[in-house]
Symmetry: C2
Subunit: 216 residues, 2 copies
């Protein structure tokens, strides 16, 4: 068995998701930083590991490379039983995946660094326009997510019941990202409360962008 | 038990994914079209069903609403055993989820209708610029996906082994979308071959955008 390796970047919110899951599952791992703004993830050495040239990518202890944060989290959950990151019933799992994917498919990708950079290079978007774009897509997802969380009897102290799981992981990483673009969190009291409860858990704190080897 | 309902739109590639899965699993369902270009998905009646106001959303036969195409597909796979849409081993499942999410997280969302519309309204992008944007992000994901598929011994006649599954579903729906924007598919022989094999399967044909009640 080799050491588990996580190719990542302190500020990447998809990396943050995986770090939380690794901490919750108690997995020791080697932290390999790739500075996204310096293009370190597009160098041949890394492309040979992950052809997509994105972070995060995890090398499991048998040498298996897994990219895509939600695929990694589900793998960890299937491989290490405790604590569970998804509920045991199919409908509950669907609800957690739905909320996770609302952030992971509809929100985060369109606000990712590479998209914001493309808006600057293709359309000359300035800082204010980039921030406005970012905040617009946050509202498009956080509005409905707040409503779903606030109105469902399945919401507990966390997104689904009273244990933190995959949806909470996605929520916390996105809230951290929002802070960098001045998103007004006032309209989202349920999201804020869940975020604050998560940040009382050591795994979430230890995995946060401010506590990594490459934190600037 | 009520009828299964799928809120969707013929041209939506995320709707297409779910339709393929429903056909493969042999689920009869009521087709409720929402014309995205006419804003039918943002009307109060639909927002009361799915607060996100996006398609697809499935109402299962017990009344459970599930949005997000991959969450729906995983629910169907956990609820109806045959044919399996994900492999039985954790590493195989991770590989299928990784390839699915490369399309569902990194490619499709940034080329979605609402993003292309935002490029037009915010930056005055014309048809040629929108098509260039679309093709750029296809290359960013299809390049590495082609490499992963071509070089892995785990690739079979389909993305993972010799049975079609969730990754093939995502691949086919994306290839259909590519056709609308003149994407050059020459650099992707493995993807093309898998696509063509899928299109020999009745479920993929029956679910395709050209064969729906609201097809224009």
């Amino acid at each position: 068995m080799n050491e588990v390796v996580l190719h990542n970047y302190f500020r990447s919110s998809t990396s943050y998701r995986v770090r939380i899951a690794l901490e919750m599952k108690g997995v020791d791992y080697a932290y390999v930083p790739h500075h996204l703004r310096h293009g370190r993830h597009r160098e041949p050495g890394y492309l040979a590991i992950n052809p997509q040239g994105l972070v995060p990518a995890m090398i499991w202890n048998d040498g298996t490379m897994i990219a895509q944060s939600l695929a990694i989290i589900e793998f960890l959950d299937e491989t290490i039983a405790e604590p569970p990151l998804l509920p045991s019933d199919a409908a509950g799992r669907a609800r957690v995946r739905m909320m996770s994917q609302m952030i992971a498919c509809d929100l985060h990708p369109v606000n990712n660094l590479r998209i914001l950079s493309a808006l600057r290079s293709r359309y000359g978007a300035d800082d204010a326009e980039v921030a406005d774009w970012f905040r617009h897509w946050v509202r498009e997802t956080f509005g409905p997510l707040e409503k779903m969380l606030a109105e469902s009897p399945e919401t507990g102290t966390f997104c689904h019941g009273d244990l933190p799981g995959m949806a909470d992981i996605c929520l916390v990483a996105q809230v951290a990202n929002n802070g960098r673009f001045g998103v007004d969190m006032t309209p989202y009291p349920t999201i804020r409360a869940i975020h604050d409860r998560c940040m009382e858990i050591p795994a979430f704190v230890k995995a946060s962008p401010s506590n990594q080897p490459d934190t600037e």
